[in-house]
């Protein structure tokens, strides 16, 4: 089930919320857990067993770590990592590994097609972070298995992030309170995310797919401006889509008293490639920083070791995004630019130029990210520099551009911090000016229901609706 579906919005969510609000305090966690498991089971009940097992293993290993001393603590930690990473490796990478060995050596003859359980990359990382934090002594192990299962299966973030650390929600799992303000901010954030997904991201996806149809012979015959325009819409789609999901997750959490950390900070306003990664999918970047990069030695070592540490992180970052070589290439592509910034450019680039260069790097990165097939990837890269001889532009692309010019402008605006800035200014001015207070109040009042209505209208006839990050 995706948040942007009628089944979620008009059945699951209202029923869950009504049940949650009506039951006494002591039943709120059980209601939340039951809702989360039903939500997860919607995509295939058999995988509920997997998430329950991973939570059980992590619950067990964390308790053993806490009660052990010396090398045994490390043994239990390794047990946790082997167990969870083994399952992740099997479900996510085994088919891909066998496909590669088959292509190289002809063996095995038959490659099993393993279905990827929804959200496995997210909840596996959440549970690993929990057990490692217990190992480090930064948090206490959760003795109640149900509460640990609730942490990793919370439907707000279980299947598409953000990767919530246990320490962020540990207290709120036990005791939480949602104020009037929390409720409003949650509803508002959820409706913004919903509209971002249903109105903007889906429309951008539709334009991109019509211009750059993956697997179609016409992908190789597009005109040059078509490739650039299509990839521009893809860059907008992937941010709006993914950040929309985080907005909805954060919003739903806030409605009931959870305060998840931000996952995006207007990444397309970055001043460098490194800055982009401080703003993009923050929960994943910080996971790799805290659980891979720093344990390897971080930046406090020799240049060679720094390069090794960064290479490991970016190889893993690429691989986390999918079992395909293009994702690994994408990770290593960023490694190259990050090394360039760290060892060659070294903050010497003017901010504006740095911003433009970083956007170009990210833009071409999305080309690597989008096309898993290297034939398609080659066609698009060649076409972007006019290598296919199809010409600069044509009537079709001219039409697509004009027909979506307001969508493009609005989507670009939605990627910036303009909305937050405007709200902040209005909020400040409303403190001393009655007219501004009225305008601000009316805007605050109408926005969530209006965005919900527009989203439902957009969803009704939308055939294109999957979240991109479901594949991870």
């Amino acid at each position: 089930m995706v948040f942007s579906s009628f089944a979620f919005l008009l059945i699951f969510f209202p029923v869950h919320l009504a049940a949650y609000l009506l039951v006494p305090e002591k039943f709120k966690n059980p209601v939340l857990l039951a809702s989360s498991l039903i939500f997860y089971a919607w995509g295939g009940p058999r995988y509920v067993l997997l998430i329950c097992f991973e939570a059980l293993a992590s619950w067990f290993f964390a308790l053993r770590i806490e009660s052990s001393e010396g090398t045994m603590r490390r043994v239990w930690l390794i047990g946790e990592l082997v167990c969870l990473l083994g399952l992740l490796g099997y479900f996510k990478y085994w088919t891909w590994i066998l496909t590669n060995t088959h292509n190289l050596f002809g063996a095995p003859a038959d490659i099993p097609q393993i279905v990827l359980p929804i959200g496995i990359s997210f909840y596996t990382f959440q549970l690993i972070s929990y057990v490692v934090d217990v190992y480090r002594g930064t948090i206490a192990a959760q003795r109640n298995y149900g509460k640990l299962l609730l942490y990793c299966s919370l439907f707000h973030q279980c299947i598409a992030g953000p990767i919530v650390r246990y320490e962020t929600v540990a207290h709120e799992i036990e005791h939480r309170h949602a104020s009037e303000r929390d409720l409003y901010e949650g509803v508002r954030r959820f409706s913004i995310g919903l509209a971002k997904k249903c109105v903007l991201a889906n429309a951008c996806a539709s334009v991109c797919d019509s211009v750059l149809p993956i697997g179609s012979p016409s992908l190789a015959t597009q005109v040059m401006s078509g490739y650039w325009l299509g990839m521009l819409f893809y860059a907008l789609q992937i941010y709006l889509d993914f950040s929309a999901y985080s907005d909805m997750a954060i919003g739903m959490g806030r409605m009931i008293g959870f305060h998840y950390l931000e996952n995006f900070d207007h990444p397309y306003q970055c001043s460098s490639v490194q800055d982009f990664w401080r703003r993009w999918h923050i929960s994943l970047s910080s996971f790799f920083r805290d659980y891979v990069y720093i344990p390897l030695g971080g930046s406090r070592c020799s240049d060679v070791e720094i390069i090794r540490n960064m290479a490991v992180v970016w190889f893993l970052t690429g691989m986390w995004h999918g079992a395909s070589w293009n994702y690994i290439l994408w990770g290593l592509y960023f490694l190259g630019f990050l090394l360039l910034e760290r060892f060659v450019i070294k903050d010497r680039m003017p901010r504006l130029l740095g911003h433009v260069c970083a956007l170009l790097v990210v833009y071409f990165g999305w080309v690597l990210f989008k096309f898993e097939d290297f034939g398609d990837l080659g066609s698009v890269l060649a076409g972007m520099v006019g290598g296919n001889g199809a010409g600069l532009t044509n009537l079709t692309i001219h039409t697509v551009f004009l027909q979506n010019i307001f969508l493009l402008a609005f989507s670009i605006l939605a990627c910036t911090g303009f909305g937050s800035w405007l709200r902040g200014r209005l909020s400040s001015a409303a403190g001393s000016n009655d007219l501004v207070l009225t305008i601000f109040g009316v805007l605050e009042m109408i926005m969530p229901p209006l965005l919900l209505l527009v989203s439902l209208i957009s969803l009704a006839g939308a055939s294109y609706n999957p979240f991109i990050y479901f594949q991870f």
């Binding site: 995509g43 009940p45 509803v187 016409s218 079709t396 109040g441 109408i446 209505l453 009704a460």
Partner: protein, 465 residues
């Protein structure tokens, strides 16, 4: 004391005001939560009105998702719940107005230029030399002998649904829009054209000496109506050459009727709709005149028959594009009532029988449905018995929706006209021809539809013994 009081008042007043302002703002935010929850509740309750769930969509002209079948296996692998979600949203009671509102919302995405191209990045196959096919002669012979349902064992015959999707995708794959009229571009596909021609040849072979087989390929409106320069600039395949190529693949016992040049000679007349992918009955009439020339008969005086006009008509192009220019200048449908009879009977896909009219008064029908005035639309089997010509010959027309406007022109010339819509009909053509004493078998199809694999495969299956 008074000074102290004044000072205290000065200090507390802004705090009170701030609290009041904050309360006012929070009240409005609470109204917002109520509005949000109320809207969600209203839509949820509407979603529970199971008896008001639609089964077809008028806006999208398709059948909506059916309630999924429950099995334990389908439940465990998530198929059931996935299809349940699809069914719920697809048949939501307010879906039609929501979809219409969604289309209006989409129009706000940008500017609609008066000249535009929608789709159009389609890779067409190169048109070969006339008579040349992709297969080697030996392979071709073997392929021609391989007939679905005869030599291959069980084969997958395209269903009406897959053909509809195929046809829809083909027609809408490249639309040139100019001054409120849309023109579909033709793209040649070698394999599909060969399959189609093989189907007609198979039918003619099987009926050699028993019935005469005619083939009429109707060009797209771009081929018939646009100037040579505009047509060449659209990037599709030359439709004239493509039809000539089709005809070159037919065996000698297939009689092609080449209508392309005739339509172009009359392209200052109202031969095709601007907002729909079909032709008008005037266009169909010119095709009928050409057919009579090939058959060697005198055409009926169709244009002097009693006629009806239905307006406004906004067809499939309008549904897809939603252009206000089309809405401001809609089409009309002129329909000519045969002098012999206006009665017909048809059977639907469930086998139900209906008595109907060749030309139906559709004045009160939806603006998108006016083309359905002709022979009750697309049916598996339609029969028109003409009491004014009881001793006349008998014909069978195998068509898709383009044939609907053409069939009424034939009524006076035959004692009985049988009509199959190839997408819905399961009849075996040679067998039907023998059983019903059919003299002429007329295949009439739009050239884009004849270039979809599914149509050719279906016709091959229907033509094989």
């Amino acid at each position: 004391m008074a000074e102290n009081t004044r000072t205290r008042t000065k200090r507390t007043a802004p705090a009170d005001q701030l609290r009041a302002r904050h309360r006012k703002l929070m009240d409005m935010r609470l109204y917002s939560i109520l509005g949000f929850s109320g809207l969600l509740a209203i839509f949820t309750v509407i979603g529970m009105l199971f008896f008001f769930r639609p089964t077809t969509s008028q806006v999208e002209k398709r059948e909506l998702a059916k309630f999924p079948e429950f099995t334990l296996e389908r439940f465990l692998d998530g198929t059931f719940t996935s299809e349940l979600g699809l069914w719920y949203s697809d048949t939501y009671p307010l879906r039609e107005p929501l979809v219409a509102a969604g289309l209006a919302l989409n129009n706000l995405h940008g500017i609609q230029p008066s000249t535009q191209m929608v789709g159009g990045n389609v890779v067409a196959d190169d048109l070969p030399v006339e008579g040349e096919t992709s297969a080697e002669p030996e392979e071709e012979t073997a392929a021609q002998q391989s007939v679905p349902g005869k030599d291959d064992g069980p084969v997958e015959v395209p269903t009406a649904q897959t053909m509809q999707e195929d046809i829809q995708a083909s027609i809408m794959s490249g639309l040139y829009v100019k001054d409120g009229a849309a023109y579909s571009v033709y793209y040649f596909v070698q394999s599909a054209v060969e399959t189609y021609c093989r189907a007609i040849n198979t039918c003619a072979d099987n009926l050699k000496g028993e019935a005469t087989v005619y083939s009429i390929l109707v060009p797209n409106n771009s081929g018939a109506m646009l100037s040579e320069e505009e047509l060449a600039g659209l990037g599709g395949t030359d439709p004239r050459e493509a039809i000539r190529y089709f005809n070159s693949l037919f065996d000698e016992n297939v009689h092609p009727v080449f209508i392309y040049d005739t339509l172009r000679e009359h392209n200052d007349e109202y031969l095709y709709f601007r907002t729909d992918h079909h032709w008008t009955q005037l266009g169909a009439y010119y095709a009928y005149v050409e057919f009579c020339k090939v058959k060697g008969t005198e055409p009926a005086d169709v244009l002097h028959w009693e006629h009806m006009r239905f307006e406004p008509f906004l067809g499939s192009f309008y549904d897809t594009l939603g252009l206000w220019e089309m809405e401001a200048n809609p089409d009309y449908v002129d329909a000519y009532i045969p002098s012999g009879t206006n009665d017909l009977e048809f059977w639907d896909e469930e086998g139900n029988h209906y008595d109907w009219q060749v030309i139906t008064d559709v004045s009160d029908w939806a603006t998108s449905s006016k083309y359905a005035t002709f022979i009750a639309g697309d049916k598996p089997l339609t029969i028109i018995n003409n009491p004014a010509n009881p001793d006349g010959p008998v014909c069978l027309v195998i068509k898709e929706s383009y044939g609907c406007a053409f069939v009424p022109c034939l009524v006076d010339d035959y004692s009985t006209v049988y009509v199959f819509d190839c997408r819905y009909s399961d009849y075996n053509i040679p067998q039907f021809v023998r059983e019903h004493g059919v003299n002429d078998v007329i295949f009439i199809n739009n050239m884009t539809l004849a270039t979809t694999d599914t149509v050719g495969e279906r016709l091959l299956w229907m033509s094989s013994e």
